[in-house]
């Protein structure tokens, strides 16, 4: 049903449609509206579940881990410092191969303190072993949340659904909230092969010796790589029900043969799509990366093939190295016959607005055939003391 909803409320409704039995909630801006909306659904008996208001994000992640291990579909959401506080549990959840879904309302990391959007938080835990799906708009957030449960439970891997804080979570949009019967047809009842069971007791989370640890890591890595197929199948199955894709692993907008390709994650993709429509004389192929983990190497290679320039935009960086996404895109260039020139920018950090006017500037930047390895796009050096420039 088409509704005008705030992103957070739409996500909460999508979560409720998945019928989680346990929700762990801890407030943090800009995620808080999601769990507030869920608590209202519980209070009004529209959602029957155990709503556990924990004392920290660390416990939020731990509660849903315990709950899933005990056989219940579970959910939590967080952002920024909360994701970092959870980090140890996030690795643990993934290593135990527990199917869970978490929404990350992407926000910058302190210090300097910022409550506004960038993607440093989810990027900081990119190696934890979770599937990470980034949403370009709130419709994708709704559809991806529902798909995330199917993917998580089919792969026995946790899924982090990343939505840009404020830009998506606090924006009102016309959103199609699917019918309960559509979700029920798409999402089977919760099943987890290794759930704790009094009738068939087993031990989980045990000590592993060096004789087995490498094999466990291999299995986990392989499971993530294999998840690409499940992510694609889930999107296709969902498209059959509601008539729209949530973005596959990667999707391309604009001229797929344009010399200039732009690759990015999250809500900036919406801005760039609009820019393409405005600046029609500046053609580009926009590579919308939805699935960052597993990193869809082959799909990205195909998408950037024959491009002369690839602009990699990201809302995070690896301080002292450069771009995170940029580095990963560079790492696959050796498989191409004519590797493109990479222009890697961090942009929109700590909530800095990304207007459509950046588009011609980005295209202009491609005139540089020897671009710097990486730079933060819109730094005003005049704001910095001499020694920091």
């Amino acid at each position: 049903m088409q509704k005008v909803l705030e992103g957070s409320q739409a996500i909460a409704e999508a979560v409720a449609l998945c019928r989680p039995q346990v929700i762990a909630a801890y407030p943090i801006t800009p995620q808080t509206h999601i769990v507030e909306n869920l608590s209202r659904l519980v209070a009004n008996a529209q959602l029957k579940c155990e709503f556990v208001s924990v004392e920290s994000e660390f416990s939020a992640a731990s509660v849903i881990l315990g709950a899933a291990m005990a056989g219940s579909r579970s959910y939590t959401a967080s952002a920024s410092q909360g994701i970092l506080l959870m980090a140890e549990v996030l690795y643990n959840i993934a290593g135990m191969r527990v199917p869970l879904v978490l929404t990350c309302a992407n926000r910058a990391i302190s210090a300097p303190l910022s409550i506004w959007n960038d993607q440093q938080d989810s990027m900081a835990v990119r190696d934890a072993g979770w599937i990470q799906l980034y949403c370009a708009n709130n419709q994708e957030a709704v559809d991806t949340t529902i798909q995330a449960y199917r993917i998580a439970e089919a792969c026995e891997l946790p899924v982090m659904v990343c939505v840009d804080g404020f830009t998506l979570t606090h924006t009102l949009e016309m959103i199609d909230i699917p019918e309960a019967r559509q979700v029920d047809a798409f999402l089977p009842d919760f099943q987890f092969s290794r759930q704790l069971d009094v009738q068939h007791p087993h031990s989980a989370g045990t000590l592993l010796s060096p004789d087995y640890y490498s094999e466990a890591r291999h299995a986990h890595h392989q499971a993530l790589l294999n998840a690409q197929q499940v992510i694609l199948e889930s999107d296709t199955a969902w498209e059959k029900i509601v008539g729209r894709s949530a973005g596959k692993l990667v999707s391309i907008v604009g001229n797929p043969d344009a010399d200039i390709a732009i690759i990015a994650l999250g809500s900036v993709l919406g801005t760039l799509e609009e820019a393409q429509e405005i600046y029609t004389h500046l053609p580009s192929r926009l590579i919308k990366l939805r699935c960052f983990r597993p990193f869809p190497t082959a799909t990205i290679c195909a998408a950037i093939e024959n491009a002369k320039h690839v602009i990699v935009l990201e809302r995070a960086l690896s301080l002292g190295s450069g771009g995170i996404l940029g580095t990963e895109v560079r790492s696959i260039l050796h498989t191409l016959d004519n590797p493109p020139i990479i222009h890697n920018f961090a942009i929109g950090l700590g909530g800095r607005d990304i207007p459509v006017e950046i588009y011609p500037q980005l295209i202009e930047a491609c005139k540089d055939t020897h671009p710097p390895y990486f730079q933060i796009f819109d730094v005003d050096l005049q704001k910095l003391p001499e020694e920091d420039r």
């Binding site: 039995q21 762990a24 155990e50 004392e55 416990s59 315990g66 005990a70 704790l196 031990s203 045990t206």
Partner: protein, 330 residues
């Protein structure tokens, strides 16, 4: 020494049949924690799910692909056991299942790093029994001081020397902090009194809501005594008043295990290498520390009313020396 007049076969038959933890695990000889864990599962029965904090118990029972546990058991991390147990309990509630959730951790995982998650668990009124195996230091990492380490005890991070007499600070009064959550039932127990542990576990199993049991469990390696002396030393901790065995209901003191023959703290301290620096030479520092430790024991005896004037001699040492409201304690 005590003579046992009951034939051993008859004694064996009196042992509970069920044990949730199998022999063959890798605990040290005389491990108080292994004994306590076995006693807990004897009393709990098989209809439980265990969340176990990182620590010796987790390590020595589950070297993959083996496990000593005969009940559903999971380990996640060091400091989130209260929250893991909360999640399990919430899921069981949502599924309409009634298995009891038992959380287990050592003193490091309970007094220190896992305290926040435990406090949250108690505050949220989850139906969970939390067991703290208190061996008074980080034993799994090789004996480092914890918030539970007693004053003056030597550990590898509180060594005695020219400037120090072992741990400078007091043992954290965890049971009072737990009791301040006004949970239905909180108690302390000691591996020296096995049937008391079973009784307290059984009681907690029947309470709907959060319950807490702190079990004093000697660690021969960390305390520096022979494994054969674990029970004797645990008993001395109780008999000196250094480890009061008490029960609290909704935060109020409900019962104590009275001590008939109160022992001087030196009897307990001398038996352990971790206090040997207190007996090397009788200088002023040593005198002050011993007086301080005796004062701590005396304080416990006074505030909990541990001294018993019962003259009945129905039983022998151990459980026999303690009575509960005129009836046998154990």
């Amino acid at each position: 020494m005590t003579e046992v007049s009951i034939p051993i076969e008859q004694l064996r038959q009196q042992q509970p049949r069920y044990q949730g933890i199998s022999p063959g695990h890798r605990a040290c000889l005389g491990c108080g924690q292994a004994l306590a864990a076995r006693l807990v599962t004897e009393a709990s029965g098989p209809d439980i799910m265990i969340a176990n904090a990182t620590g010796c118990l987790e390590i020595f029972t589950t070297p993959w692909p083996e496990s000593a546990w005969k009940v559903p058991w999971m380990h996640s991390l060091f400091e989130n056991t209260g929250a893991i147990a909360s999640g399990i309990e919430a899921a069981l509630k949502a599924q309409g299942k009634s298995s009891k959730v038992i959380a287990m951790g050592g003193d490091g995982g309970t007094f220190d790093i896992g305290f926040q998650a435990l406090s949250g668990m108690l505050e949220r009124d989850h139906n969970i029994l939390y067991i703290c195996y208190d061996n008074e230091a980080y034993m799994n990492t090789g004996v480092q001081r914890s918030g539970s380490t007693p004053h003056a005890a030597m550990t590898n991070t509180s060594p005695p020397g020219k400037a120090r007499m072992g741990k400078r600070h007091l043992k954290k009064d965890i049971i009072s902090i737990i009791a301040s959550h006004h949970i239905p039932y909180a108690a302390t127990a000691s591996v020296a009194y096995p049937s008391d542990i079973r009784k307290k576990v059984r009681r907690a199993m029947h309470i709907e809501g959060p319950t807490f049991l702190q079990i004093h469990a000697p660690c021969p390696l960390g305390w520096g005594h022979d494994g054969s002396q674990s029970i004797a030393i645990a008993r001395l901790a109780v008999e000196t008043g250094l480890f009061p065995v008490i029960e609290l209901e909704r935060g109020a003191l409900a019962n104590v295990m009275p001590i008939r023959n109160i022992q001087p703290v030196t009897a307990y301290l001398k038996a352990q290498q971790r206090f040997r620096h207190l007996f090397k030479k009788a200088d002023q520092r040593v005198k002050e520390e011993l007086a301080h430790l005796q004062a701590l024991a005396d304080h416990n005896i006074e505030v909990y009313g541990l001294q018993s004037d019962h003259t009945d001699k129905l039983d022998t040492r151990g459980a026999a020396l303690v009575h509960r409201r005129g009836k046998h304690w154990a």
